[in-house]
Point group: C2
Chain length 249, copies 2
């Protein structure tokens, strides 16, 4: 199947589901969730809407496939966890954090950080994962996330009756915190080209400090704590809090 290497105004490679999903991820990453439209997709792929619908049932399925792909990559990059990708065991040998031989606690931290960073790279991912988690627990996404955390929970020695609770708390926290972090980055960028995350958090802290002292004593007092926190450190502190609860019970 030697494809001609000549350049042409039209696309040279045949369309495929994979190419479409890749283009969707690219669009989501660069223009955001609202930027993924079939028109933008047809332009990028030099084709018509009908061609896309030949490979993909509808937009929901396309979003699902994009989510699954990015999630699988994020989980595979971490410790050797559950099903990486069906078929090929490629994974390019990455396994950056091969400290996976460590404790279950470290395993949970590693998976959490992997998801946290994946969401930082793909800000739309948090919303999408949350949606899939809630709307279709029978799909591929929910078991994959659940398993990636839950196997470490089990290794921790948590009694079986507590598995679901512990894994739920961890997963909800991880996705929530990751989504919030990603949004903070995006909001900072939106405020101006020179506004990075610390600058953005400072503006939020300032807003919180101006709240009514009568109604918002806690939030006002907690505002200053917003400023000088390392993303990862702050995120891991939340995980460790849950871990403390697990080993204390």
């Amino acid at each position: 199947m030697a494809t001609s290497t000549r350049r042409s105004p039209r696309r040279t490679e045949a369309l495929s589901r994979e190419r479409i999903v890749d283009a969707a991820v690219e669009l989501l990453d660069t223009v955001g969730e609202g930027g993924l439209t079939f028109r933008a997709l047809t332009e990028r792929l030099a084709t018509g809407p009908g061609a896309i619908y030949w490979h993909v049932a509808n937009k929901e399925e396309l979003l699902g496939a994009a989510t699954e792909g990015v999630l699988a990559a994020a989980l595979a990059a971490g410790p050797p966890g559950p099903a990486g990708s069906p078929g090929s065991a490629a994974a390019s040998g990455g396994a950056s954090g091969s400290a996976s031989a460590g404790s279950p606690q470290d395993g949970i931290r590693a998976v959490g950080l992997g998801l946290f960073d994946a969401v930082g790279k793909h800000p739309w991912l948090a919303t999408q994962l949350t949606t899939q988690l809630a709307r279709s627990p029978w799909g591929a996404v929910t078991p994959r996330i659940f398993e990636s955390i839950g196997r470490h929970v089990r290794a921790l020695g948590v009694p079986e009756a507590g598995w679901f609770t512990a894994t739920s708390v961890l997963v909800h926290y991880i996705l929530g915190a990751a989504g919030q972090n990603a949004a903070n980055i995006a909001s900072g960028r939106a405020l101006g080209p020179g506004v990075d995350r610390p600058a953005f958090l400072d503006s939020v802290a300032r807003a919180w400090e101006e709240l009514d002292p009568e109604d918002y004593p806690f939030t006002r007092a907690a505002a200053s704590g917003l400023r000088d926190h390392d993303d990862h450190e702050q995120f891991l502190a939340g995980i460790d809090l849950v871990l403390a609860g697990l080993t204390a019970g």
Copy 2:
């Protein structure tokens, strides 16, 4: 059918921002997030789109107002008492303390249950709160939620450095679990009129038990635990896990 004659009674009350927001909430509750359109709104309010735009800047602001209204009610009402009558819990601002007489732990459980049940009544609320929490921490929603939980965290004796972490974990878990529960209810209804939540959870459990034993050992084993769990009990177990971590540290 009455053809072009306008059968709906002509509007007797003047339009107002409040009436529009109320109609939006009603639409969200009955037809879901996708059902809130300006056309449905104009029909329900017997007016034109221009009239709505006179009172409300755009759809985003309308959704925000709907979210704020329902959230304020949920925080003011607290959890529905077992038999008693809360009557009106005035609570201007953060107060939210219908169960304020008890321990801080009970306070957190009460606020959590209040949010959990509000999301159960308004399934769109979880997504909306998460969005607001992430996208605009300077808005009204974020401080209100944060305060409602955080003041009890402080009362717990948690050192100030841990306030943000603890409150974040609790809030993310509460919204995540509430959203998942609401989606489960909706999914059960969607599957059929006779399918309630237990039946739906059973079908999910069955799906999980058919996963590949090699790739999903944990999820398979945890599946059976899905079946016979009381909503509230299960939800509170997650909160208690975090509380255990707080008092252990």
